[in-house]
Symmetry: C2
Subunit: 480 residues, 2 copies
């Protein structure tokens, strides 16, 4: 992507979005009028106004950075989004398609003709093409591949051969390479001849005849060292490197930990095959945290906020269905004790407290654990210790808050034994919540699943059924 | 921070953590033995083994990057953490203190003598000192400030004068500045004389005599342009700049959107006063998503997973207490209808289904909205539309899943009217969940609060009390 020069950053994104929405609104009012009015003269005037609005909107859009247009497209409902998309200059289509989220990209691509898609895609680098290819119509991809030279085609193929979460799918091929036996002076002259350097070039890669990575020359060192020195004297010999089949999220964490801007990707023989840059890694860090939040609530990640109702339903149904089953199980647990409830109706009013506090507390524990696992701080070695801590917290919470609610139950229903059962049930259910809050994400991880997956639904299922069973069971044994 | 050269990145962090834990474990076994055994000879042998272990551990630590040691310290329980901390070379204390999380940093500082803290702090830049200062003992800070020169002291003061979430608190002062009327050749010579460039220098700042920012010269352009050209011909005139009192998180989003590596911070008169770098912004993006996840579950952010039980309790109590009150309210709602439940005990078994599905569905909605708000995609302009979409999803979910559960209720309890009440209650509670899921975070934001704050606890409170009231109310009206 080209050099960033953004105008009016002082205007917040929200303001810019507001302006676009205003202009869209004006235009729509005019359109409505034009449709309604019959007189030719009026239609003509309104057509003029309409055209003026369009021109103003177009000018506004031309002033905006592609990333900002992407943001605006994401924040607009489908109809408005497509109106804006039509007004964007064709040569910017490619940049913007690469910036928007997957769900929004799909709606934009669906609105484009094949020849528009081809034109947009022809501007792209191999790694960008590979990003886009899975969402393009088959024949467009085919025609596109035909138009590439052998090296580019090979690169697109290679990028496509990796899973989405592997380093290989995120690397680009814009590497500046040099030999170790030349002087810095020669390197400086060589760079000058390139006329342009790829974005995020904070180091150039030093390779031998076979293309194997010998080291990296940070631009900082290139600038401050004597130009007479040789690259081999100045380069870093043992840089952080990544393998194309490594986990991309781990690479992102390494970027974060070691404050990297770019890093070489090498194959098994240390041949340089690509590079990773911080901008891709930042996007990844953002996406990972997003999908974690969404996963915990039992949502998949593809839903944008203006997705159609139908798409939203599909996104949410799988976990709602699970929840329906777990709620039904909890209901049957209560069903087991209908006799007790008939005899002491207070049980019906008190049982949701036991279940609710358990659910809340379990959610706190599971959130902590999922977070810590995402940061790689939990290993099997410290499970016991974590469990011990969470169980201690649960016992104390149970005795204190369970005690409080026990006293309240005693005052309300004038039965100290009911209060005692309440306190005991709360404590036991909090213990269950703590235990499950630690074990659910750990077991999911052991099974190779995402530990955040539906965590909230699952822990609530446990604390509901468990809470009802514990409370009603204790009540039946001790109060009936 | 110095140039990154990391050894053995191929070894995962988990492995390295494992090795340290093993060594710690060995050492502890030896210590236990030494305490237990009386014989002098044995003690001597074990002392030797013990010392060997310590040496091995120390060697291991010396090989690790400061960021990795920080990670290991965070993943260790307090006692082990302090053992490792004692073994870390004193000259690395500062670097590591800057890398660890706030909660862990507090435990490390508590374990250090004043003179150790002073020594560690003396290595730091002004912005790093300002980061650390609030957590240091008063007299250490005082002595430290005395030892600084006037400019440094001024910088620390200025950094401390900003809130944690303002750009001013995150900027550093390691700027390379040049004049616009010199040639690139002169700039290159000037840089060479500096001997070292600050980390993340992807551009140098062009200022006039008054120190006002005229533009930036990207290193990329410096390298590829003719050295005879003047800075003014090559520089970017309108770079992205930030004000020190701007919101830091918005700055981070701008870094992400515009793929920045560094950016100038200017005051009202466009005087250059500092710079922001991508590494600080990445940390911020990470922290924001973390606190969002934790806030939704009603946790504050300061708890590390090995925090003491007491600290964990304090972290979780405020929202648990809120939850206790809301659960009590829900219980009283049921209490209102004890008469109905006594007459039809099936109500007690069915009511948690209505409340549970509502809670789950409300959590899905609120998670979506909080996410979209964090990404700035929600404005008052599109509230109505969002609400309409969420309510449509709720009606459909209510009719479909409510219908299913209504049929199940009919089959279980042989009452079609009970089934109908169930379906109606589910639909209404899902509508309530959708409405509250949109309105709670929006209202919190309007009140200037974090929209994620306890979102999960609040929505569950609504759907519990609401669900019980709707279901039992409908049942009382139509079935009694």
């Amino acid at each position: 992507m080209s050099e960033v020069e953004v105008k009016n950053l002082q205007e917040s994104l929200q303001d810019r979005l507001g302006q676009v929405v205003d202009l869209l609104h004006k235009q729509r009012v005019v359109e409505d009028l034009t449709h309604r009015q019959e007189g030719q003269h009026q239609a003509l005037v309104e057509n003029l106004v309409h055209r003026q609005n369009v021109v103003e909107l177009q000018r506004k859009l031309d002033d905006l950075h592609s990333a900002d247009i992407a943001y605006i497209l994401e924040a607009l409902p489908l109809e408005d989004r497509l109106t804006v998309w039509q007004l964007v200059k064709a040569e910017r289509d490619g940049d913007i398609l690469l910036e928007v989220s997957d769900a929004v990209r799909e709606t934009l691509i669906a609105d484009m003709e094949d020849h528009e898609l081809l034109a947009a895609a022809k501007e792209m680098d191999a790694d960008e093409l590979a990003d886009l290819a899975p969402e393009l119509p088959r024949d467009v991809v085919h025609e596109l591949m035909e138009s590439l030279d052998a090296q580019q085609r090979e690169r697109v193929r290679s990028a496509l051969s990796y899973e989405e979460d592997q380093v290989g799918a995120l690397m680009d091929f814009e590497m500046v390479t040099i030999r170790e036996d030349v002087t810095l002076e020669v390197v400086l002259r060589y760079l000058r001849r390139l006329r342009e350097l790829p974005g995020h070039t904070d180091k150039v890669f030093v390779i031998d005849q076979e293309g194997a990575l010998k080291g990296v020359l940070p631009i900082k060192r290139l600038l401050v060292n004597d130009p007479e020195k040789r690259v081999s004297e100045v380069m870093a010999n043992d840089p952080v490197t990544f393998h194309p089949d490594a986990d991309a999220y781990e690479a992102a964490q390494a970027f974060e930990r070691y404050d990297l801007v770019s890093a070489p990707v090498v194959d098994k023989n240390r041949r340089l095959i690509g590079r990773l840059t911080i901008d891709e890694m930042v996007d990844l860090i953002r996406e990972e945290s997003e999908s974690e939040v969404l996963n915990m609530a039992g949502l998949r990640e593809e839903e944008d906020i203006f997705a159609s109702v139908w798409r939203s339903l599909r996104n949410r149904w799988s976990w709602l269905a699970v929840n329906l089953i777990t709620a039904f199980v909890a209901s049957r647990v209560i069903g087991l004790f209908e006799g007790s409830i008939e005899r002491l109706v207070a049980l019906a009013a008190l049982m949701p407290i036991v279940a609710g506090i358990g659910g809340n507390s379990g959610n706190q524990t599971i959130t902590m654990i999922v977070r810590a696992m995402a940061l790689d701080q939990v290993s099997t070695g410290n499970t016991r210790r974590l469990l011990k801590k969470e169980l201690s917290v649960a016992v104390l919470n149970g005795l204190v808050w369970g005690g409080v609610i026990g006293v309240v139950a005693w005052l309300l229903y004038h039965s100290w034994s009911l209060g005692l059962v309440m306190t005991a049930a709360m404590t036991l259910n909090l213990l269950l919540a703590a235990f499950m809050g630690v074990m659910i994400p750990m077991s999911l991880a052991k099974l190779g699943k995402d530990p955040a997956m539906g965590a909230s639904v699952m822990i609530t299922a446990m604390t509901d059924s468990g809470g009802f069973f514990i409370f009603l069971g204790l009540a039946t044994v001790f109060l009936m």
